[in-house]
Amino acid sequence: MIVTREWLQEWIDLEGITTQEIIDTLNRIGLEVAEYKKIEIPQGVVVGRVKSCQKHPDAKKLHICEVDVGDEILKIVCGASNVQYARYVAVAKIGSKLKDLQIEKVEIRGVESSGMVCSSSELGLPKMENGIMLLDDSIGKLVVGKELREYDAFRDEVIDIEITPNRGDCLSVKGVARELGVALKRRVKFPQLDRDNSFRIGIGRILNILPDKSVNAQLLYKAFRSEEFSNPFLIRMRIALVGERFENRGEEFAFYITHSTGVITRIYGYDTFRGEESPLIIAKKDEEGYDCVYGDKKASVVGVYQFDHSKPKIDEAIFVLEASYVDPEEISQKMFKKPIENDWSYYRSGRGSDPRLEVGINYAKLILDKYYKGIELYSGMLEYRKEIPTKVIKIDFEEFNSLIGQELERSSIVEILKALGFTIVNVNEDSMVVQTPIFRHDISNLQDVAEEIVRIYGIDNLNSKPLKFVEKNRINEVYKLYTFKKELRERAIANGYFETLSFIFNDKSFLEKYGFETLKEELDLINPITSNLNTLRTSLIPNLISQTIQNLKNAKKQVKLFEIGSVFDTHRQEKEKIGFIFSGASEPEEVKNQGKPANVTLETFISDLSRIVGDFELKKAYSFNKLMHPYQSAIALNEKGEEIGVIYKIRPDVELELVDTFVAEFDLEKLQRPYPKAKEFSPFQLSFKDLSLLIPSDMEYKTIKDTLKDKLPQEVKRFYPIDLYEDEQLGDKKSLTLRFAIQSDKKTLTEEEISALIEEILALLKNGLGIELR
């Protein structure tokens, strides 16, 4: 909602109040000022009058004008097509400076030009029309040679206010003025016409209204006649400042009245209603159930849209001015269910326009009288009205006080509510009853009224005090998971990984191309924001990869990232995961590696991961997406043998500009484990025995591990591989050395006892897998 200081002045006396004070006040009462700008016209731009205007002999599109600027007559070459004899224009004289343009005497196609006739945009104003700015006395008496900046309109201040959706009543200059009036304790004036400017002929002589009872909208009509209806400069400039532009002069005028008063107005060409018989406005519902105005055809949907054919045509001289109101709740529900084309009016009607239709009509009369020539108003009006129910609200003082946390003076409550237009129905010891203003459809309960009171009283002026509450253990599962995640994150960064965030969106074609799971088509997004964010991610890895590629492009030699975030399965079930990526150099470039650190290996990556997520076991991956290296991919298992994640190298042949890159993704929930209970440990001697076994080349260590697990004598505390040896002489076998830790809980074992245990292990291996010592 854009207003200007001068425009506000029409409704409220702002004498002695700085614009900064206005802005602060608006912010304080809940009308947030988003932007402020002062119009500044450069010095040396003056009012000029075109004395003569001829075509340039050597250029079709140029004019040579003589422009009176008071103390002299300037010869100026002008390129605008709308320059006309006798019109008042803005002239930038020699020596003035417009934005970056220094005005100097120049020769244009052999003709000397001493100045420039300006368009609005050349003066830093919004674009108003094609060509130069044509001034008129709507900005004040035009004096040739007078600096433009001396006119109030050209040193106005523009304030852009963000109006919250509940405050349709503030979508007008008058509405903002009313709010300011309450806050600044100044009266809002209603500009009055000194005399009745109506023409003698009654409106009934030229037009009638035929309303259908089913229509809920309010309608009020006035007609006027004008041979030469055109909107004055001031109105067009203000509309441009608001950021609107209209092709139709009638619509332009109606918008101005609406923006000024908050009453939705429209102008129809009289032809719209000239039927074959007597001219008639028909108000009825259309087939969709919208309240509409018809002539021969549908002319407008009340509060929503006006059809172009009903707007006044260029040669029309009789205009029908309409003020209307529709219930905001009703119209927005209808628009939600059956949306139709809409114009600037719906933004207001849907949020609640002013139902006091006379205000709109009277203001239009005033503006016509003030700025327009040759207007003949028909006397009287046509109307269709239904009563708008008013709301009565009881305010329990105790409830009010407990809501805001302190007691406010009753007199100040009454004063504030009265100023806001509430009617005080009665006041007694514990409560009061108020009636809401007709233009405040958004107020319907005590809380709403309380908001109005604290808004004006000033929230900053309210007390602040701590709440007394009952202590309660609020450590829940979410909190526990949060602290677990925090631990993981701390460990990840201690191991050199950077935490990252990415959108939960992915490119479906990427997921499909590389064989990732995707959302079922019928569960996918309807309205993605871009095609590369058109589905939900099913894995953290694609985003980690694309962030890594970007980092490598930025000349990073090592990329270590991790992310904790939600992913979705094909049924769109959400699951939280932690993903890691390690790409490029295994360590920083430094003296010890002569600046050429080796690249990361699967071993490095896995030892990193183990330091972060804790112990896990690995087995060969059995199914692959198309990014996975077939011989360096693994499934991670927890001690119960459940799959907790996947770890793999990115295939070197995928077209992703990645070298030596490893990724991992774990199921967050499955990484959590309880804090263990201690077991007793043996005080007796621990011995280590190494066994080198000859095993088939294609045998996985896991097979041996699984075979021995649960079958080993209890004196064998643990075992682990320590050496792998492959040699041509071994043929299709390889040598794997395992180290066994042997210890009894009861005594120190003798060499013979240990040898017996070794024999037992060898027997297990031989019987289970047929493998023997090398």
Partner: protein, 353 residues
């Protein structure tokens, strides 16, 4: 020479003594000149070994007249003691030198060593979120979460945002083909928590939210923290809300001014937006605060009765507030570009090591 000593018994004790002194001097010189522990050891053996100098000299004592024996023996013992001490001292000296040399050989230019580039860093948004959670946990708020894919009911309807409400324009929503949506705020967690527990409630819900907006100052995903406190009717007041938020903002941003501006949210009434004095210009007006001197950081209000009605709560009162974590992080850590927070760009992240 002392060798002469044994054979020439006529030589006086004093001469012997003198000779011993001379000989000791020679040995001392030898010890002093030892350059290594090996050399020193050789000298030691020469002197004190089984066939060494002193062994021989004491042997010769036998040949001396009885009355001379003790005197010469005494002199010899004194000489032995002295040279023994000197060898010890020399040994200590050589040992120290040797260790010193060994240590010198282990010299490292410590300034060449790299102690950088090994640690990662928390993401500034998540770090900020940690700080926020830390505050509210300490004040006995529970943490609650909810699904990212939501029903219209939890995200809008129950929050007093019926389908036709113009305020829905404020939140451009991602929809799914089956009618579900991506939550546009963390507020649905309020509804879920109220439906699953009884008052009193004291909770925050941090998490990702989604709006269909992508430009310089908007990303389709960002993070919010929502707060909700519900207690018996007439118990929770706007004053309580003011207190907690003022305290919270001081905890996070330090010594700033806090101001409340009336505003509108469909699910609270009265509603307010909260500003802090600009962190960059201390309220004088700059580019970050659009010359206003204030930075908007929070939205809040008293829970609208329609919300309580939607979850069938009776005779309760409560407040709610919400904030954008990215905005907090950007202000706290001077990050200029919102979008950079979602790019995993190490040029940014490495700065938070």
């Amino acid at each position: 020479m002392i060798f002469a000593l044994g054979v020439c018994s006529s030589v006086s004790y004093f001469e012997i003594k003198k000779e011993i002194e001379v000989t000791v001097k020679e040995w001392s010189e030898k010890i002093k000149n030892c350059a290594s522990l090996e050399e020193l050891e050789a000298v030691r053996v020469e002197l004190f070994g089984k066939k060494g100098f002193f062994a021989k000299e004491f042997e010769k004592l036998k040949a001396l007249p009885k009355e001379e024996k003790p005197k010469v023996a005494k002199e010899l013992n004194l000489a032995k003691e002295q040279l023994f001490k000197e060898i010890q001292l020399k040994k200590d000296e050589l040992l120290a030198k040797e260790i010193d040399k060994k240590l010198q050989e282990e010299y490292i230019d410590v300034s060449l060593l790299n102690s950088k580039g090994y640690k990662g860093a928390l993401h500034p948004v998540m770090y900020t979120l940690d700080k926020i959670i830390e505050y509210f946990s300490a004040l006995n708020y529970s943490i609650q979460t909810g699904p990212l894919v939501e029903d219209d009911f939890y995200n809008f309807e129950a929050l007093n945002l019926p389908k036709h409400h113009p305020a829905r324009d404020m939140q451009d929503t991602f929809y799914f083909k089956d009618g579900k949506l991506l939550r546009t705020h963390t507020s649905p967690v309020q509804i879920r928590t109220m439906l699953s527990t009884k008052p009193p409630i004291r909770m925050i819900s941090p998490g990702a939210v989604f709006r269909r907006d992508y430009d310089l100052t908007h990303t389709p995903m960002f993070h919010q923290v929502e707060g909700l406190v519900v207690d018996k009717a007439k118990k929770v007041s706007f004053a309580n809300l003011k207190f907690i938020l003022e305290d919270f903002l001081h905890y996070i941003f330090g010594d700033v001014k806090v101001r409340f501006r009336p505003s509108f949210f469909p699910f609270t009434e009265p509603s307010a937006e909260v500003d802090i004095s600009c962190l960059f210009c201390e309220g004088k007006g700059c580019r970050v605060c659009s010359q206003t001197g204030w930075l908007e950081v929070l939205g809040c209000g008293m829970v609208d009765p329609n919300v309580f009605e939607a979850v069938e709560y009776e005779d309760v009162s409560g407040y709610a507030f919400g904030l954008g974590v990215e905005r907090f992080a950007m202000l706290l850590h001077h990050i200029g570009d919102l979008r950079s927070l979602f790019e995993g760009d190490l040029r940014l992240l490495e700065q938070f090591r």
